[in-house]
Amino acid sequence: MLMQIDIAEHRYGSLLVLDNVQFSIASGEIVCVVGPSGCGKSTLLSILGGLVQPTNGSVSYSGQSQTDCLNDLTYVFQDFALLPWLTVRENIRFVLRHHALDPATCDRKIDDVLARTGLTSFAQAFPKQLSGGMKQRVGIARALVVRPQVLLMDEPFSALDAQTRELLTADFLDLWLREKITAVHITHNLAEALTLADRIIVLSRRPGRIKKIVEVTVPKAQRLTAEGQTELVALREELWSLIKDEAVLANQEVTA
């Protein structure tokens, strides 16, 4: 087991945000977390990566010693979080700078990751010159360059238009099939979750509780084929029925 999450509760002031959230993540697995907006998905991910301390609970992590891993738990952000004054190449180099690497190794790592994410010809571009999809590719490339044990993806595709989102989801699936990355992927998009996840954790509306953990048994290589899609239809129905009531109730809470 790579990560064990055991959060008894998490509060913002007196507001209970997460309640009894326990699950584990195995190596090479993609775990998607879905739930209505405001259910604490992003807070959960911040806790996983050590950006927020849980009020009561702990996250344990047992990474195998992988020599070239520079940052065990690495985020991909919804809004990309690229430095606008640096080129694509320099943005990726930015997260390597403080590791005492010789320049040649650095360049090799950057070239490698640019090639794997299809960014080689954009290396000298500034973020403002890129489309949203390309910006998030840079976000993913920057995360991969440190060879993380677990990728923590905070709605990475939700700032993109629907077509770009599908393309990037397919690309990420491709990447997984080649490299078996471990990832926790927060999303509100069920199709995205069904394409990528080994397991889907369904959270209730606030306070977020685990409503159900759904296993997706269709092999990942077949997910985007016609047969795979047919198999996933039933699961999608199940997921939607789990989320729909929560979403309706959450919506009424916000408007009330």
Binding site: L51, Y75, F77, P84, L86, V95, H98, F126
Partner: protein, 278 residues
């Protein structure tokens, strides 16, 4: 019922009058690059009108000499070396005072942005001291520091310090927090976050603040030199005033405008070079 018929009639009229959609405006867009020549032309026309009015005897030269007379005066001043003596005295004070004030203001602004304690102490102090007309402390500074260059340089540094502090810490505050979270999540050390995220992110705002602080330092030095100085554009203007030399008065003002314009151009060049990423 009435409204309905009225509405229908209007609709009909409109569709009959024109089949294509009229342009209704583009949101008051200002094209910075377009019609550049207009600004130069406006200045040339203004000066030409002034010259014409002077030539026709519409303006009393004792109050407002002609542009040519002002140019002539500037030329004479340059020949005698007085122009350079006064300009260099003022510029020296501005450069030294502004540099010290800016360096201290930047340092304190960064501290205010990063430390809650410094901010809580600094904010009310800055709020209280910023609005004081800095020239009001000049006599006190002369009392403390003597009559040489020191009080003049200090009063500029003092005047530049506060706007620099304010522009620095508000600009740093405006750097998106998620960029800092990103760096923290990659284990980037604080020193690098300050140097490579906060400062470059805040730089456009800081340079915008420099436009204001250079303007301040020009205002302050002229006032300070009018009160107490042998050389400098301020004392030159003061002397010209007591001698009723309106040509020299105008020449002094023109000189200040040229200095202001030059500083503005330098800052624009820096902005274009540094902020290509914007």
């Amino acid at each position: 019922m009435n409204d309905m018929t009225l509405g229908n009639r209007n609709m009909k009229q409109k569709t009959q009058a024109s089949d294509h959609v009229p342009f209704r405006g583009g949101g008051f867009l200002i094209d910075e690059g377009g019609r550049r020549g207009v600004s130069t032309l406006a200045i040339v026309l203004l000066i030409a009108a002034w010259q014409l009015a002077s030539g026709l005897g519409l303006i009393n030269p004792a109050f407002l000499p002609s542009p040519f007379k002002v140019l002539e005066t500037l030329y004479d001043l340059a020949l005698t070396g007085q122009l350079w003596a006064d300009c260099s005295a003022s510029l020296f004070r501005i450069i030294v005072g502004w540099s010290i004030g800016t360096a201290l203001g930047l340092a304190f602004g960064v501290l205010m942005a990063l430390s809650t304690i410094v901010r809580n102490v600094g904010k009310p102090l800055v709020a209280a001291l910023f609005p004081i007309p800095k020239i009001a402390v000049l006599p006190l500074l002369i009392l403390w520091l003597g009559v040489g260059e020191l009080p003049k340089v200090t009063v500029i540094a003092f005047g530049v310090f506060f706007p620099t502090v304010i522009s620095t810490y508000t600009s740093i505050d405006n750097v998106p927090r998620n960029l800092i979270r990103m760096a923290q999540s990659f284990g980037v050390p604080l020193r690098t976050i300050v140097r490579s995220i906060l400062l470059p992110g805040a730089l456009p705002g800081i340079v915008a603040g420099m436009r204001i602080s250079t303007g301040y330092s020009l205002t302050i030095i002229v006032a300070a030199e009018m009160i107490a100085a042998e050389h400098g554009i301020g004392s030159f203007i003061m002397l010209a005033g007591t001698l009723f030399r309106s040509d020299q008065l105008i020449a002094g003002v023109v000189l200040l405008a040229i200095i202001g314009l030059t500083i503005d151009r330098i800052l624009s060049v820096l902005e274009n070079r540094w902020f290509r990423w914007r």
